[in-house]
Subunit: 415 residues, 2 copies
């Protein structure tokens, strides 16, 4: 195969390369195994060669080599995605960004990071200067800045600051094109959409400039309700309370909290502190909810859904009543288009694929739309058509051979 | 009159008293003269005696003396109100809080102040510790903390943090009752509504605990549009952009900006700095808009209106088209019930009272409701019925003789 071609290896001379089969297998995976469907499709997929760049120049060299030799190139951040975003479908090079991890600046509401900086490290560093990340995924400790903007959409903080795609969240992306002579492009404003949430299919994100929030002394609170509908209305009202400054507003139906018990009362109130020995509350939320359930029960999987604006609480309660404990309701409240809405990562007692899609069709009758977590296809994730067109056009320009994360962008595959 | 009664004066022995007629006249006024209607009603109203307490104990002594002698008692903050909130209708004592001005604490998101602390001073002090006021009126430099919570509703910052009455904005009020043996009561939670926005009719607010926001390096930006409708849609979209952290989102129709010109271009972008020599952008907004217009044209007055949720931009544009330059459109965007809405302080070319109410009726056909700025009556200001009932009940308990700011609470007067 081309990745072991001596001429190709020579082009990468002096770079850190890894080709041990165990490493290739382990590092080519993310958390797609939450989905039995993706597990069947993606198990065994692996890169042929891992390259670990330490500078942007080294990234440029790898991109140039892949373009010249026609080798697929997939970028790996913290590999905390849930849809196989970084799983190489056609082998080739896996570009592991773990060592491209310098913080370039933190100042007055903005921070600029190399793509491989871990979000938790970035956040702690910002906090020392009185700032914090506006939002982060529940995988904050492992996930990287680059991986988040390429594969994520929202997170802890979205109840106040909205989505990653909202103007003002991501201030700039520096990307490397995949061409024989790669270009370095600084994307700002609407152009950020060319690479944001594109799974690295359009270019290689090497630097990320994020808007920061002033650091806040957070408090973690858990509250129990006897009734799901009452809890759902409370979560919505809390999310609409402009005077209560929130970082997270999560709703879990029973029996989900049972998976979280750690020998204490479920209700909680404590000051948030950075401490590796304590599981932060956010590690029970977003898609960590599913992970916590999977730790206890390997047979569950999950759905990911978007709720109708202005009627989300009603839809949430109706779906809870429709499916009961088969689909354990779990909603993450967040700002969307200036309104308090929720999306949901429901934990599902899995029987088979047919039943899963039946559940999805049932949800659709309630106005709840799927953002399919059982697909590795970019366009199945509710990416807006505007971004999809922009990204396809940019890919034609920046990756004319279609080498970047091949098989993930269906519009490119179809074209 | 009782305020000059030797026995009453003896009860106030040792307190700072002022009874010079010029001082009595000047200090009994606020900015009600923006309204030709209030001007006719309130000109000449004045207290009989001013007391300037330096401690809460001194406030208690004044309250006790007024209760024993049946003397009306009105509290004066910065006297920046626009509805005669602090104008004594029945003479008596004016309690000038200017020297009750200690900052009691600033820590981790909360600040506690004596009522007479000026908002600008409080804000600067908080900023030194990395915090800032969540919201303040455009009269920030003069207005006091106590006056704001008793007579204000929202302000600069409301586009992000909502209204003063929203849970989490005001954390506590310490009040003194008007009884022969006054009580000191700490109000928290829903009880805050007993004194919040009550014009000092229910009790005397002596301490205020406010939620603080992390300090932010603000930038002032002014932008010109050719078309009012485009500007209105932009202001709404900006206010709904969760990723853009705003402090102020104000919309002014031409010719309002002409009143503001200071020999330069109208468009502006500069870092906000505390500097007495520079007029901050917020001193052209909220009801400073009207003041800036009045400085140039003494014949204008204003309206104050609330817009329909979800249809506010359409109503704004329709009213601009209905009245043109007679009613110069001016909107302050803010969060209300979790949504981006606006209220308006329209500058009106005044002809007579009949025409003013005709304009109001025209507005009402567009779904725009008046929060009457030409009335000194508390209940005419859109106070919610819930608060009105709570306040009436609390007044019965804390001011059984009805001595506090008499004539302002219509429910009391009627009962």
């Amino acid at each position: 195969m081309i990745a072991t071609d001596p001429a190709f290896r020579a082009a990468l001379d002096g770079l850190e390369l890894i080709d041990h089969p165990v490493q290739l297998r382990l590092r080519s995976r993310d958390f797609y195994w939450y989905s039995p469907i993706l597990k069947a499709e993606l198990d065994g997929k692996a890169a042929d060669l891992i390259v670990v760049p330490r500078t942007v120049d080294e990234v440029v060299r790898v991109a140039a080599a892949c373009a010249r030799f026609g080798v697929p190139l997939v970028v790996r951040g913290g590999a905390t995605g849930n849809y196989g975003q970084m799983v190489p479908l056609q082998g080739g090079v896996l570009l592991d960004m773990a060592r491209l991890d310098r913080t370039l600046c933190v100042e007055r509401g903005r921070g600029r990071f190399e793509a491989g900086v871990r979000l938790g490290d970035a956040d702690v560093l910002c906090q020392k200067q009185g700032w914090e990340l506006r939002m982060f995924p529940s995988t904050r400790r492992q996930a990287t800045v680059g991986g988040y903007v390429c594969g994520g959409a929202a997170g802890v903080g979205s109840i106040r600051y909205g989505q990653l795609r909202d103007a003002g969240s991501v201030l700039a992306l520096k990307v490397v094109t995949c061409e024989p002579v790669p270009r370095l492009i600084e994307l700002r404003g609407v152009d950020i959409g060319k690479a944001l949430h594109a799974y690295g299919t359009t270019s290689i994100v090497v630097e990320v400039e994020l808007a920061l929030a002033p650091a806040y002394p957070w408090v973690e609170i858990a509250t129990a309700f006897d009734d799901f509908a009452a809890a759902a209305h409370f979560a919505q009202a809390l999310g609409e309370s402009d005077g209560i400054f929130l970082k997270l507003d999560s709703l879990m139906a029973w029996p989900l909290p049972r998976y979280f018990e750690r020998g204490g009362a479920i209700t909680l109130e404590r000051r948030y502190v950075e401490d590796r020995a304590i599981t932060p509350l956010y590690e029970y939320t977003w898609n960590h909810t599913t992970l916590q359930a999977l730790k206890v029960d390997k047979t569950v999987t999950y759905l990911q859904t978007i709720f109708p604006l202005g009627a989300n609480v009603e839809a949430l309660i109706a779906s809870h009543e429709m499916f009961g404990e088969e689909v354990m309701a779990h909603a993450e409240f967040q700002r969307r288009q200036g309104r308090t809405n929720c999306s949901s990562l429901q934990v599902v007692r899995y029987s088979d694929e047919a039943r899963l899609w039946e559940i999805v069709r049932g949800m659709e009758t309630l106005g709840i739309r799927l953002s399919n977590p059982h697909s590795y296809i970019l366009e199945d994730k509710g990416a807006r058509v505007l971004s999809a067109d922009l990204q396809l056009a940019f890919k034609r320009e920046a990756d004319p051979q279609g080498l970047l994360n091949p098989g993930k962008m269906s519009r490119w595959t179809a074209a």
